[in-house]
């Protein structure tokens, strides 16, 4: 087996003998003085044109305005267009000129270099191995395993400080992924205007993007959420409110009273990798995620009907407050958004 049995010498080499490198044929520019002078002029012209474009670039930089006094040309920003054109041409012409010069005028004799094996000579190798051996022996690392092992242990342990130092990159997850700002009595408001929603304002088939009121106003003792915290909470608390014909809705046991007159509220955050789901298909009650096309049936408890998502959309139980606006009856009963390892897998209904 292996290459030793395979006697390469037994196999015939090239059936046709190597004719050797072909004779060098002179170019027109090598033998014709006029041709070579023409090539010279061409190269110089390319370089000269490049200089012209560089000057035009500087002119364009100062001539065309940006920002508040934007100049346009054929609907494009004139500054960007002409800066790109002139700088691009200035660079390109230098390149084309240089290559033209190399091809037409520089000596074009191919030359031959011989290769050497990548490996060192056997003597060098042996000597190097010997030196390594000597070094190891002189250090006595082989004879004193106590030193070797304690050193390995000490260096190995240094992984720990590296890991510990990175620990403060962020707080630990705790229970944060399981909760949102939704709580009993929190009004569901429209996501742009922040106005609360009355059930009678919604038509059957309509879908509204919603958010908790605390993103817009102080609620009771709690202050309005702003800044980064707003982004963090919005990434979990965004919802869609949809009104369907109550006859179409088939709630799981225990969810019969989570809607108001066929109005249901679901998390807007996809259970796949967390994109906000926004494509609503009225006739099929399906909500489609534009990122990876997971599709959820909102008439059937947000069940996955297509795509890579594994879990139904969490539903937010709704009620109506004294003034007739939609409110949450509690926080979500399960974690919203993408799955994570520690996620509690209590299923609220038949899957």
């Amino acid at each position: 087996m292996s290459t030793t049995d395979r006697d390469l010498a037994q196999v015939e080499g090239d059936p046709i003998a190597d004719p050797g490198l072909p004779a060098h044929l002179p170019r027109a520019t090598d033998v014709d003085e006029a041709a070579s002078r023409r090539a010279e002029r061409q190269v110089a012209m390319l370089f000269g044109l490049s200089s012209v474009f560089t000057v035009l670039f500087i002119v364009a930089y100062f001539a065309f305005g940006v920002g508040d006094d934007l100049d346009t040309f054929l609907g494009f920003g004139a500054s960007n267009l002409f800066l790109g054109l002139t700088l691009g041409m200035a660079l390109l012409l230098i390149g084309v000129g240089t290559i033209h010069w190399a091809r037409k005028l520089m000596a074009d004799h191919e030359i031959v270099e011989y290769r050497h094996a990548a490996a060192s000579t056997p003597e060098d190798r042996e000597e190097t191995v010997g030196i390594l051996q000597t070094g190891l022996e002189e250090s006595q690392i082989g004879r004193r395993p106590l030193i070797r092992n304690s050193l390995l242990g000490a260096v190995g342990l240094l992984v720990a400080p590296a890991g510990v130092l990175l620990w403060d990159l962020g707080p630990t997850p705790g229970n944060k992924l399981n909760t949102t700002v939704w709580r009993e009595g929190m009004r569901v408001v429209q996501d742009i205007s922040g106005t609360p929603i009355r059930p009678e304002d919604m038509e059957v088939g309509q879908l509204v993007n919603g958010e908790p009121e605390i993103f817009f106003n102080d609620v009771g003792d709690e202050e309005q959420i702003e800044g980064h915290e707003l982004l963090v909470e919005k990434a979990k608390a965004a919802v869609v409110i949809v009104r369907m014909d109550p006859a179409d809705v088939t709630p799981w046991p225990g969810r019969e009273d989570w809607g108001v007159d066929g109005i249901l509220c679901y998390s807007k955050i996809c259970t796949h990798v967390g994109c906000p789901i926004s494509l609503w298909e009225q006739t099929t009650h399906d909500l489609l995620c534009p990122c990876h096309q997971s599709t959820f049936d909102l008439a059937d408890n947000g069940k996955v009907v297509f795509g890579p998502a594994a879990r139904h959309l969490p539903q937010l139980p709704l009620a109506v407050d004294d003034e007739g606006y939609l409110i949450a009856r509690s926080d979500f009963t399960e974690a919203v958004g993408p799955s994570f390892w520690e996620r509690d897998n209590d299923e609220p209904g038949p899957e």
């Binding site: 030359i111 490996a119 963090v232 967390g274 906000p276 879990r311």
Partner: protein, 586 residues
């Protein structure tokens, strides 16, 4: 020119005068000054006239190199204005549709660069285009290296370095396009958070550490910025340097041909021809990228608006090189396991974490797998045509098919909308196609290569088709075949014969079972599958017999008609190619 006369190891000068400093010149003085301090003349002497063979396909890696330089230059420009901060500001700049909106400083400064800095938009677009070209040219370069067998010993380590460059280039691209903190890239980061959380055991912690708490937090942009402008570019520069050093040390591979052998390298010297061509090519790449930056818009973040975790645009897609795992993510069925109060998201973890790692490992291992199967441990400096390694070629085409189908799946929504198809059916179809497609591609490619090998042998043995139709006295028609020119025929035969590993006996002469018998048997079987079907080049005897046969036929025709036409009556080569003796009937 005569290559054989030069002494081994020293490149002969192609000039007509000795390469020696003549009368004192300014160049000489500068070189002396530098050499007094650096002592580099010895090294420079050997390398300044280093030979590089010429072929268009050797330019692909150069495109990657030069676009990386363009990335460094345009990237430095962008850092002067870009602010890697997620601090919330109210945009008051000159782009009126966004005025008054809350956004991060990162987004606001990106819009500032695009609208208020002269040349800012140009540099942003040049940077983005250069990134696309950088990754694309690395991939095409990788394919060239693979299909021509340039990865074989002694160049396996350079293959590994190249693969690492591709991986890091991709990550660099992802961190880069995330920095503007616009709606599209924010959605990408949002998905990346979901990817991380799918990792069993450590995923949630990894996400919280990376984002500095819950997504999106206020740390991710500055952290990605450090990774994008310092960490990855630093490693890229070091690896590119190593890649180039190994290229110089090994000397470039070359195509076989007259005078071009395993022992030499034939081409133009570094100084001046190659330096001029490569240097000129840098300006060409830079120039073309600048024209693209000026003329073709890319990543108009102002149209997407600032990131908002509750919003998304339909048709959201990552940059093209991240498309294939995104496609796998779309194809994967929604499989999730719940065990002891923990959640295992196979639907996310497998396509986006496991598969890229697996594909990358396969890529990295290809040279080692092939040399193990073929048992070929020799050095190789001559390139192979893809057809002459049918199984290797078919393996890569199968991988490319898998990549292409996954990538298409990443655009399943676009395909559905543009072509009026059902997204569900496209997805179901592609779920099957990613398994079956590569197998079909493998079989077709392998058969195709074998046919091309047969066609080569046909041309060697029976000549090429001259296009001249002969009519014989009986009224039958045949096409005249003419022998290939010698140089062409030599080039076609300048390849190794494939040697299939023999099946081991399993025990030595004394009946002692070999400890590696099973492994050897597997290897012999794989070796047979790998190359037993390959068509070998004809032997000298076969070639001579074919030639003899052809001459006989010519003579026969000549005797019949007294006026044979062999095609050269029309191309003026009848005397020059030495076939004059066949025209005895004139």
């Amino acid at each position: 020119m005569s290559a054989e006369t030069s002494s081994a190891g020293v490149a002969p000068s192609n000039g007509r005068s000795a390469a020696k400093a003549g009368k004192p010149s300014r160049v000489g003085a500068a070189a002396t000054w530098a050499d007094d301090r650096l002592g580099l003349a010895g090294v420079a002497k050997k390398n300044l006239r280093k030979v590089f063979p010429d072929h268009w396909s050797f330019m692909l890696g150069e495109i990657a190199l030069w676009s990386f330089v363009v990335l460094l230059l345009s990237g430095v420009f962008l850092t002067f204005w870009y602010r890697p901060s997620m601090a919330e500001v109210i945009y008051e700049g000159s782009y009126s549709p966004l005025r008054g909106l809350h956004m991060s400083e990162a987004m606001a400064s990106t819009i500032h660069i695009s609208f208020d800095v002269r040349g800012g938009l140009l540099m942003r677009q040049v940077h983005h285009w250069a990134a696309m070209v950088f990754v694309a040219s690395m991939m095409v370069h990788l394919l060239r290296v693979y299909f021509t067998g340039a990865f074989r010993k002694p160049r396996e380590l350079n293959w590994v370095i190249g693969c690492l460059l591709l991986l890091l280039g991709t990550l660099e691209g992802f961190t880069g396009y995330s920095l503007p903190d616009d709606l599209l890239s924010g959605t990408g980061i949002r998905a990346a958070d979901g990817f991380m959380k799918s990792i069993p055991i450590v995923g949630t912690y990894a996400s919280f550490l990376l984002f500095g708490g819950e997504f999106p937090g206020d740390s991710i942009i500055p952290r990605l910025y450090t990774v994008h402008v310092l960490l990855i570019p630093g490693i890229l520069v070091a690896l590119i340097a190593a890649h180039m050093l190994l290229l110089v040390y090994h000397k470039h591979t070359q195509w076989p041909g007259p005078g071009r052998t395993e022992q030499n390298v034939v081409g133009y010297p570094m100084l001046p021809v190659y330096a001029a061509k490569a240097g000129g090519f840098f300006f060409v790449v830079f120039g073309v990228l600048t024209l693209m930056g000026g003329l073709i818009g890319i990543n108009p973040v102002w149209r997407y608006g600032p990131y908002n975790p509750a919003e998304v645009t339909a048709g959201s897609q990552p940059d093209w090189y991240m498309g294939w795992p995104d496609g796998l993510l779309r194809l994967m069925p929604g499989w999730e396991t719940h065990v002891f109060g923990t959640t295992w998201s196979w639907n996310v973890f497998f396509p986006i974490i496991v598969m890229p790692g697996l594909m990358f490992t396969i890529l990295l291992m290809l040279p080692f797998i092939e040399s193990w199967i073929t048992g070929d441990k020799r050095d190789h400096h001559l390139l192979q045509r893809p057809r002459n390694a049918p199984t290797r070629t078919a393996v890569m085409v199968a991988l490319m098919t898998f990549y292409g189908l996954s990538w298409a799946a990443g655009g399943n929504d676009i395909i559905a909308i543009r072509m009026g198809l059902s997204i569900n059916q496209i997805t179901y179809f592609l779920r099957g196609a990613v398994f079956i497609g590569p197998i079909i591609a493998f079989i077709i490619t392998r058969r195709w290569c074998l046919s091309l090998q047969r066609a080569d042998n046909e041309r060697l043995l029976h000549g090429y088709e001259s296009g001249v139709i002969m009519r014989d006295p009986q009224g039958g028609y045949s096409e005249k075949h003419l022998p290939l020119p010698e140089a062409k025929a030599y080039t076609l035969t300048a390849r190794d014969r494939d040697l299939v590993l023999s099946a081991p006996t399993g025990s030595d002469g004394n009946g002692v079972a070999s400890p590696t018998a099973r492994k050897d048997r597997l290897r012999a079987r794989l070796s047979r599958l790998w190359m037993a079907d390959n068509i070998q080049k004809p032997t000298r005897a076969e070639l001579e017999e074919a030639r003899h046969h052809a001459e006989h036929e010519h003579a026969h025709e000549a005797a019949l008609s007294g006026h044979p036409a062999d095609g050269h009556q029309f191309d003026g080569r009848d005397e020059a190619t030495g076939h004059g003796h066949q025209l005895s009937g004139h």
